[in-house]
Every structure is written in structure tokens, then in C-alpha cells.
């Protein structure tokens, strides 16, 4: 971080030094011919350069003819704004990616010899080994620390001095003869109210304060009451105030503190102050109609004569600089005419534009490329210089996402993109600009390549399409061909899985992107599962408008924006919310959407919905498909991070609340109906009473409530008084809840969950022992709801197990009669644990036949949950049993 900032400062410092030296030259050449106001204005360019790192690139920038190793783009989208870098930014960051070492030879030697900026730019060395790099990183760090220390001490002492001054000047006395003030203010057309004070603690006039600047005069000046002198001095100070110099001076001090290591900046700082004073003198002379030069000069000398030392250390206030040259400047002053002023203004604007822009690397690529060829970054006498991109040899070398040992990669003989093709290369994100010579085509998609710098392999990547980079990324490269003319190639780290919603009306911008193979999030190549008769599009098209962002920079907000602007939406793992089916009364989750129907059509597997009145059709593919879950009222769609898991889900996919193989999807007429059926059939319409009720899943209705009579409530409350709070004799996990709970009067703490030991309850986080209450409740539950605690030891002597699963149109049966398998099932069923029921759909039926000929029907969860319901008791069974079911029933648990 620190090194980064230091780097930035260093780069600014160097760029500004060049500007400053140019200005000093101008200033020197025209020293007596130029108004000081002009040179004063010019310094503002240096000031801006020293403070702001980012500038627009322009063809007319001075840096087009001066050596600049690189400019760093700020973001993928804004091609023309950037930072000049003499010192690469990434030397302090860990190499971008595992073994991919980034080496940039442009580590500057200049950090301690700032004066030799320009020379040293030519003395870059390259080809150092990593040891040298480490050394340099260390060096940069130390330099950065020294810099920060210097900055802090300078700032601190400046601030301390300022505070001390202000404190001592508190007792300065208001100067009340304000005729002079009014007169001069009027003359200067200065509207703000300025107050004048005097003090015996200062020797020369100063302006003090940031928000309400005031003029402070030395006592001696006031005492002498030389009105001429006073008027001149007050005019001078008021001009400072009018020009906001009292703000720029401290600012320049801060800037000098930041760039303290740079003597050019110090020299600029001094000249800046001098020009500030002298231009101020010029203004004084200009505002008076008559020639007051000698009067004014005399005033200045009088003032100086009274001082035994010359105040200048009031760093953040005003001092007056260089008395002799000021006198000369004053006496030399000639009023400049309109044309001179106009010309000066024009020159300042031109210089401002030329000096405040960065080199341009767009259309002007050739020149810059050539220029780059001469820059030190690439200079190495023995090696071929410059950056080149080679394809990995072998036409089928597809990118696997694995980071390989760069040196072991065999490259093709000729570079795909030679140094002449490369306009600029950005080390931060490994993006580069190339000339649009059509060398990159869609055939290269997924091909591996290696970036070679000075003969050294520095970076491996693959050509990739923009659309793959929706999930931000580790490594992958996409080809951003969204606009015709820019021909940008982004090398970015990232990948995106296939899957997307296909808009029917899309344009063919990316029509050639094949989706048959792609990367998963981990950068691994996989082939998507392509089921028979299930149409997965060969290509995806994204509509209309140009993409505005480099995808790798997208945060979620931007993604949304992009998706909107592309008029397409993508499914990804983190964004289920977009694909929820939300009933109309509850669609606040995505307000702009009004989902009208969820409709399956015979041939197209998907559904339609309306966004803003525009009907959109979604086709399910293997990534995006509806699944059920805990949400009773939602159908939502799910993809998986892990493809294999997904694959399983696919084969056994189901829709709505009735499971079905997805291949049979066309047989379903409408999901709404399924949802309705499910509710009608599986859940009792009974509503939960507000208080004093018992609840369990009973045989008939799966879910049942019984509201206690008043007499029962009395009895329960009596029994309740016998409760003993358990002193954690047992671990809470040892209690097994049964599918039975009751609630008294109201309030959260009045929920009681019944445990299977017939004497323990959980209420309000506390375990309560009360066998009497337990007996009472279980009695009521049995009498009113038919609930009994089920004893799993009855699962023995099985001769047959049949699993049935029913959809709207047919029932699937599967039978196990193998003795040894039945034995295993028995054992696992006996170990099944009592539990409170989850929200799985329990629409599979397991029919067990015992040796005595009796049958028992058990409801099974038909999603992936290991849950079953026996006589209203809910059990969780083991993964082992789940495996047995899956392996021995056909298509368990779905078919």
C-alpha cells in the first residue's frame, strides 16, 4: 500500500519535474519580457501535475515526444484516462498469479537521484533475475518508508509552526482606520469583508487564515502612520486575498512536503513564491491609474528597513520574497495592453493542455509503438526487445485453466502478435492494446498463449470471450469484440460457465461463441451434459448495445447494469433471486418484474414471463432448471458450482412439487396446477390456531392441529407446575424430538417441543423434565390426532420393500426382495432418529411387507432429503440407507 502510494508520488513527481523544467526554461528565456502574472499562472500547471495523478490522453500531449514507459488505464471502459508510470506499480504486489511471475525491468533507479530523472530513464536495465527484483522490492519499500517519514515530519512541523503563529497572533489588535481598506477594496472590486489587525509580534505584513483571511500589519507600520506605505501594503495584501493566494501558498507547502525528495520541486516552490509576490506587485501597479512605481518601491524599502530580519518562515502565511528582484521588477513594470494579456492567456491555455495530458495511444499507435521501442523498458542489447504474444504450439492447445510451468510450454515459432502490433501493455491487469490488424479471430477462442517480454515468458492466458467472464475470475482471457473499431484484447483472469437466458430478439454480436465447451469456476474445462432431445443452443447471442465495461471489472451492480444494457440476463450461482417464481401478491423482491404466468409449452421446455410488458421466454438448459426446495410457494432455479453434482440433479430433475424426470417434462400441463394439487392433497387445510393447541403430522392429513379445551388447558397448567428445569445432565443433542409440539397462551416462550423419552420438553431454549405433562400431552395427541410415538424396533422381518412414486400421469414402482439388502434396510431403519419434520415434499411411498404378511406404508421425502414419515412420526435416516435406496430402487427417490 505504502509502496503503491510512494510509487504514485514518484511518478507524479517525475512527470511534474519535466513540466517544471520546461516552465523554468520558458521563464528564463522570456525573463524580462513576460509579465510575472503569466509565470505565476504557469506554476499552477505544475501544482496540478503534482496533485492529480490522472489525466486524459491526447495526441498533442507533451509526453508524446518525451519518453514515457507506460500509461496505466484507470478502467477498462475509459480508454483515454490514465496515469503516467515511470515506475511500475506492480513490483510490490505479489506476482499476479501463483507461478506466473511478472517481471518488469522498469524498476527505477531514480528514486534517490531525482534530478537525473531524464537521464536515468535511459538507464533502465532489464533482464534481472528475481533476486534483483527482490532487492528492488526491498529498496522500494525502504524508500517508501523514508519518504513517508519525511512527509510526516515536514507536515507536522509546518502544522505546529502554523498553530503557534496563529496562537500568538490572537492578541493582534483590530486596525480601525478603515478608510484605506474601503478605498482599496473598492479599487480592487473586492467584495468580501477583510479585517486588518496589527501586532507587535510580527515584522512584516502577512495574510493569515484559510476561511476568513485577515491582514496582519506590524505595529511599527501602524505607528508610523505613513498612509502612502499603508495603502500600498494593504493593496498588495488584498490582491493576495482576492487571488486566493492565502489558499495556494499553504497548498504549495503541502505539495512541497509530499515531494520533498525532489529538488526540482523545491526550486519550483521557491520560484512559485517569488512569482506570486512579483505578480502581486504587478497587480498593485496595474490597479493604480497613475504611475506609482517609485512610490511603491519606496514603501517596500521602508518596510524592509524596519525589519531586523525578514519574515518568511510563517510558512502558511505570507512572506515577501526577494526584495531586490522585486524592486527591479517593480521598476521594470510596464502596463501590458489588451493584446499582451490575450496572448498570455492563450499561451497559458495551450501550455496547460499540452502539459496536462498524457500520451495518446489510440489512433496514434504507430508513433507510440515506435516510441515505445525506444523506451528503456525494452532496451536490452542482446535480446529481442518488446512484448510479444505466442500461441502455445499445437492447434488443439486449449486452455485448461491450470497454471503451467511457463518454461515448459512449447511455443509456436512465430509470434501471433509481434511487438509491432502491440500499442501498449498494461501490467496491472495484463490488458493490452493492439493494432486492429485482424490477427485475432474467433478461431483463436480458448487457445492458449504466452506473453513474452524480452524473450522471457511472463504470462500465460487464453483467448476467451467476454461473455465468459461474468463471475470474476482467476485466470482466463476474453476477446472483447463487442465494438468493431477498438480491437482491444483484454487479458483478464476469469471464466464463466455456460448457461444463459436466450433472448429471442437478440442481435448476432457474439453469434460465433461456442458454448459446447467451457470453463467452470475453477478454470477447469468440462463438457456440459447434453441430454438427448434437450435443446441446448449451439450459440448464444447477446443483443444490441455495445458493452460499456471490461467485464473483469464488473461488480454486481455493474453486472446488473450491463445485463440490462445487453438486454440479456445470465444465470449464475449467486443470483438465484432473478429466477424465482414469485406469486403476484409477493413480487416485491424484484419490483420491475411482473411475472404473469408460469407456463410450460409442449415443445419448448421453458417458461414465459413478462418484464415491463415484454414477453420473455426462458428455455431450460442444463444449468438453469427449476427445482423445488424449502420454499413452499416458490419454484426457483438452481445451478451448481460443481458440475458433477449438477449432472446428477439433471438426470433426476424435477419440476414443481411433483417430481418427474426432466425428459418427461412435456407431459406436464402447468405448474400452477401441480402446486395447487400438492397443497390440496398433501396438506390439510387446517389453520394453525393462535394459542393452546397441539400440532403433529397425523396419518390422514400429514399435518394436524388440535385446539385444547378449557378444561384441558387447566389440566396442562396444573401439570406444568411440576416441571423441573434440567441441569444439563445430558447433552442437548441426545434428546430426540418427536413430531409433536404444543403451544400455550401465547408468547414465544410457550412453545413446547416433546422429546421421545416421554418426559422431557424443550421450551425457550431450556430442557424441562415433566413426565406428568408428557403423559398428558401424548394422551391428548393420541386421542385427538391419532399420534403415537413410533418405535423403530418394529422394522424387522422384512420380506419386501416397494417404492412408489407418482406424477400426474403415472406411477413408478420399484421393488426390492433381496434378503441381504432388506436386512440392511431393517437395520438402518431401526437406527433412524426421531426428528422434527423438514419441509420436503413427502410424496414417495415406501411399502414394507413383513414376514407375517402385514404391510406398512411409509411416506418418503421425494427430494434429496433423508426423511420419512411413519404414522405421523418424522425420522431422519442415515446416508447409508439413502445410498441403499438410491442403488437398489430404480431412480430413487424420484422415480
Amino acid at each position: 500500500m505504502l509502496v503503491r502510494i510512494f510509487n504514485q508520488v514518484l511518478n507524479m513527481s517525475l512527470a511534474a519535474s519535466i513540466v517544471a523544467i520546461l516552465l523554468m526554461l520558458i521563464r528564463f528565456v522570456f525573463r524580462n519580457r513576460l509579465p510575472k502574472t503569466f509565470s505565476y499562472a504557469l506554476w499552477s500547471i505544475v501544482l496540478v501535475r503534482l496533485l492529480i495523478p490522472v489525466y486524459f490522453a491526447a495526441v498533442f500531449s507533451i509526453f508524446n515526444v518525451l519518453p514515457v514507459p507506460e500509461t496505466t488505464k484507470i478502467s477498462g471502459g475509459m480508454q483515454n484516462i490514465g496515469i503516467i508510470r515511470y515506475v511500475p506499480d506492480n513490483i510490490d504486489t505479489e506476482s499476479v498469479k501463483e507461478s506466473i511471475q511478472i517481471y518488469n525491468g522498469a524498476i527505477t533507479e531514480t528514486s534517490h537521484h531525482k534530478t537525473e530523472v531524464i537521464n536515468s530513464l535511459d538507464t533502465y536495465t532489464s533482464g534481472e533475475n528475481s533476486e534483483a527484483k527482490d532487492y528492488k522490492q526491498g529498496f522500494m519499500f525502504i524508500a517508501a518508508v523514508i519518504w513517508a517519514f519525511g512527509l510526516m515530519s515536514l507536515l507536522a512541523s509546518s502544522i505546529i509552526m502554523y498553530i503557534r503563529t496563529v496562537r500568538r497572533l490572537q492578541t493582534a489588535i483590530l486596525y480601525k482606520d478603515n478608510n484605506i481598506l474601503e478605498e482599496t477594496s473598492k479599487m480592487l472590486k473586492l467584495r468580501r469583508k477583510v479585517r486588518i489587525f496589527y501586532s507587535d509580534e510580527i515584522n512584516s505584513p502577512i495574510v493569515c487564515g484559510f476561511f476568513k483571511p485577515r491582514i496582519l500589519l506590524p505595529l511599527s507600520l501602524v505607528k508610523d502612520n505613513n498612509l502612502f506605505d499603508l495603502k500600498h501594503i494593504i493593496t498588495h495584501e488584498l490582491i493576495h486575498i482576492k487571488r486566493l493566494d492565502y489558499f495556494f501558498k499553504p497548498l504549495s507547502v503541502i505539495v512541497a512536503c509530499i515531494h520533498w525528495f525532489n529538488p526540482v520541486i523545491w526550486l519550483s516552490f521557491i520560484l512559485f513564491q517569488k512569482d506570486m509576490e512579483m505578480s502581486c506587485d504587478e497587480r498593485v501597479l496595474a490597479v493604480y491609474d497613475k504611475d506609482i512605481r517609485s512610490d511603491y518601491a519606496t514603501s517596500l524599502i521602508n518596510l524592509s528597513a524596519k525589519q531586523n530580519s525578514y519574515l518568511n518562515a510563517g510558512l502558511l502565511a505570507f512572506g515577501e520574497g526577494g526584495i531586490k528582484s522585486r524592486i527591479k521588477g517593480i521598476m521594470n513594470y510596464k502596463k501590458s495592453g489588451f493584446w499582451m494579456a490575450a496572448l498570455s492567456a492563450l499561451v497559458i491555455i495551450v501550455l496547460g493542455v499540452v502539459l496536462l495530458t498524457n500520451p495518446y495511444g489510440g489512433n496514434d499507435g504507430d508513433r507510440l509503438a515506435e516510441n515505445n521501442g525506444n523506451t528503456p523498458v525494452k532496451t536490452n542489447e542482446n535480446k529481442k526487445s518488446g512484448m510479444e504474444i505466442y500461441l502455445v504450439a499445437g492447434s488443439n492447445q486449449k486452455y485448461t485453466g491450470e497454471v503451467e510451468d511457463l518454461n515448459s510450454l512449447v511455443l509456436e515459432n512465430e509470434p501471433l502478435i509481434s511487438k509491432d502490433d502491440i500499442v501498449s501493455y498494461n501490467w496491472d491487469d495484463h490488458s493490452l492494446k493492439i493494432k486492429n490488424n485482424k490477427k485475432i479471430s474467433n478461431e483463436l477462442l480458448q487457445r492458449s498463449f504466452v506473453v513474452v517480454s524480452d524473450g522471457e515468458k511472463i504470462y500465460q492466458g487464453a483467448f476467451w470471450s467476454a461473455i465468459y467472464s461474468m463471475i470474476p475470475p482467476k485466470i482466463a482471457i476474453y476477446l472483447d469484440n463487442l465494438t468493431e473499431e477498438n480491437g482491444f484484447l483484454f487479458l483478464s483472469l476469469g471464466s464463466w460457465r455456460i448457461g444463459g437466458e436466450i433472448q429471442p430478439d437478440v442481435a448476432d454480436i457474439l453469434s460465433d461463441l461456442h458454448l459446447k465447451e467451457t470453463l467452470n469456476r475453477d478454470g477447469q474445462l468440462f463438457k456440459p451434459y447434453l441430454p438427448k432431445n434437450f435443446p441446448v443452443p449451439d450459440s448464444i447471442s447477446v443483443s444490441g448495445k455495445e458493452a460499456k465495461y471490461g467485464y473483469s471489472y464488473l461488480d454486481w451492480e455493474k453486472q446488473d447494469e450491463l445485463i440490462k444494457s445487453l438486454d440479456a440476463r445470465f444465470v449464475n450461482d449467486l443470483d438465484y433471486a432473478d429466477y424465482k417464481f414469485i406469486p403476484e401478491e409477493d413480487n416485491k423482491m424484484r419490483e420491475e418484474e411482473t411475472i404473469i404466468t408460469l407456463h410450460y409449452n409442449e415443445n419448448i421446455r421453458g417458461f414465459k414471463y413478462n418484464i415491463d410488458g415484454k414477453e420473455t421466454e426462458i428455455i431450460f438448459n442444463e444449468i438453469m432448471m427449476p427445482v423445488t426446495g424449502e420454499h413452499d410457494d416458490l419454484v426457483y432455479f438452481r445451478g451448481y458450482d460443481d458440475y458433477e453434482e449438477y449432472d446428477y440433479e439433471y438426470k433426476h430433475g424435477f419440476i414443481g412439487y411433483v417430481s418427474a424426470p426432466i425428459g418427461k417434462l412435456e407431459k406436464f400441463k402447468g405448474v400452477e396446477k401441480l402446486l395447487e394439487n400438492y397443497h390440496e392433497e398433501e396438506y390439510s387445510s387446517a389453520k394453525e390456531p393462535e394459542k393452546n393447541f397441539i400440532s403433529c403430522i397425523n396419518k390422514k392429513n400429514l399435518s394436524g392441529y388440535y385446539e385444547f379445551s378449557n378444561e384441558e388447558v387447566e389440566r396442562i397448567k396444573k401439570a406444568q407446575s411440576l416441571s423441573k428445569r434440567m441441569k444439563s445432565s445430558k447433552e442437548p443433542s441426545e434428546y430426540r424430538f418427536i413430531n409433536l409440539y404444543f403451544k400455550l397462551d401465547g408468547g414465544i416462550e410457550d412453545w413446547y417441543y416433546v422429546c421421545d423419552d416421554r418426559q422431557t420438553f424443550l421450551s425457550n431454549g431450556q430442557y424441562i423434565n415433566n413426565p406428568v405433562l408428557s403423559e398428558l400431552i401424548l394422551g391428548i395427541a393420541k386421542e385427538k390426532l391419532g399420534f403415537e410415538i413410533f418405535d423403530t424396533s418394529v422394522f424387522k422381518d422384512l420380506v419386501k420393500a416397494k417404492y412408489s412414486f407418482r406424477t400426474n400421469t403415472r406411477t413408478y414402482d420399484s421393488i426390492i426382495e433381496d434378503k441381504s439388502i432388506l436386512k440392511e434396510i431393517e437395520e438402518e431403519l431401526q437406527k433412524a432418529r426421531q426428528s422434527r419434520p423438514g419441509k420436503s415434499p413427502h410424496d414417495g411411498v415406501l411399502t414394507l411387507t413383513f414376514s407375517d404378511g402385514t404391510n406398512m406404508d411409509i411416506r418418503m421425502a421425494s427430494d434429496d432429503c433423508p426423511g420419512l414419515l411413519v404414522n405421523g412420526n418424522y425420522f431422519e435416516y442415515s446416508n447409508e440407507l439413502h445410498e441403499i435406496f438410491v442403488n437398489n430402487f430404480d431412480n430413487f427417490p424420484y422415480v
Binding site: 490572537q170 483590530l174 515584522n203 525589519q307 518568511n312
Partner: protein
């Protein structure tokens, strides 16, 4: 009669008290603000300082003087602000800032420059 050393700013302040005493400190703050342009906190600081030196007293927020005008010895501030910045820092900065001390000769020389230019026109 013992003399009390008073600096310029304090003398101005004392003048106001002599003219108005006894005066409540609140009123004093108002007058001092109008006359001298001081903030409330500055006025209180000076009151405290002068109390310590035995020039005035402040009892139950009523301020009155303890000395006459004749007892005052007006002192020059010995140390100007620009002398605060001593030590190494001063050296550091003064290397860059023109710290000039004008001798009589130099002043004469400057005056001569002005005259020359004047004569030249």
C-alpha cells in the same frame, strides 16, 4: 511605585478597562470584540494573564485594574514570531527561502536603483 511590564496588545486592552472599570467580564468581551477584534477565548486568556501579573483582578466576573496608567512600563515584544522558528527546521527551510536581512548599505543601494529608474524615464 512598582512598574508592571505590559506589551502593546495588553496595553490596548488595559486602556479599555481603565476607561470602563469596574466592568463585568461579559461586557468587556463585547467591547474588546468591537475595539480590538478579539474572540471571547482570547479576551479571557489575556484577562487571566494580566491577573497573574497583578495588573488587574477578576472577582465575581467583575474586572477592575490594580495599577494606574503611570505604573505601566510599555514593553517591546522581544521575540517576534519569525524568531520562533529556530533550530534545524529553520536551517532546512532557510536554505530555500530568501531570508534576507537588509543592511543600511543594501537599503541605500535599493533606493539608488529606484532613483536610477526614475531618472531614466
Amino acid at each position: 511605585m512598582e512598574k508592571v511590564k505590559i506589551f502593546e496588545a495588553e496595553y490596548r486592552f488595559m486602556n479599555i478597562i481603565w476607561d470602563n472599570e469596574p466592568i463585568s467580564s461579559t461586557d468587556l468581551v463585547k467591547i474588546v470584540f468591537d475595539e480590538l477584534g478579539w474572540k471571547k477565548s482570547t479576551t479571557y486568556t489575556v484577562i487571566r494573564r494580566l491577573c497573574e501579573r497583578g495588573a488587574i483582578k477578576n472577582e465575581n466576573t467583575i474586572v477592575s485594574t490594580l495599577i494606574d496608567r503611570e505604573q505601566v512600563m510599555k514593553a517591546e515584544t522581544e521575540e517576534h514570531i519569525d524568531r520562533i522558528y529556530g533550530g534545524s527546521l529553520k536551517l532546512f527551510f532557510s536554505a530555500f527561502l530568501h531570508k534576507e536581512k537588509l543592511s543600511k548599505d543594501e537599503i541605500d543601494e535599493l533606493k539608488k536603483i529606484v532613483e536610477e529608474y526614475d531618472g531614466g524615464e
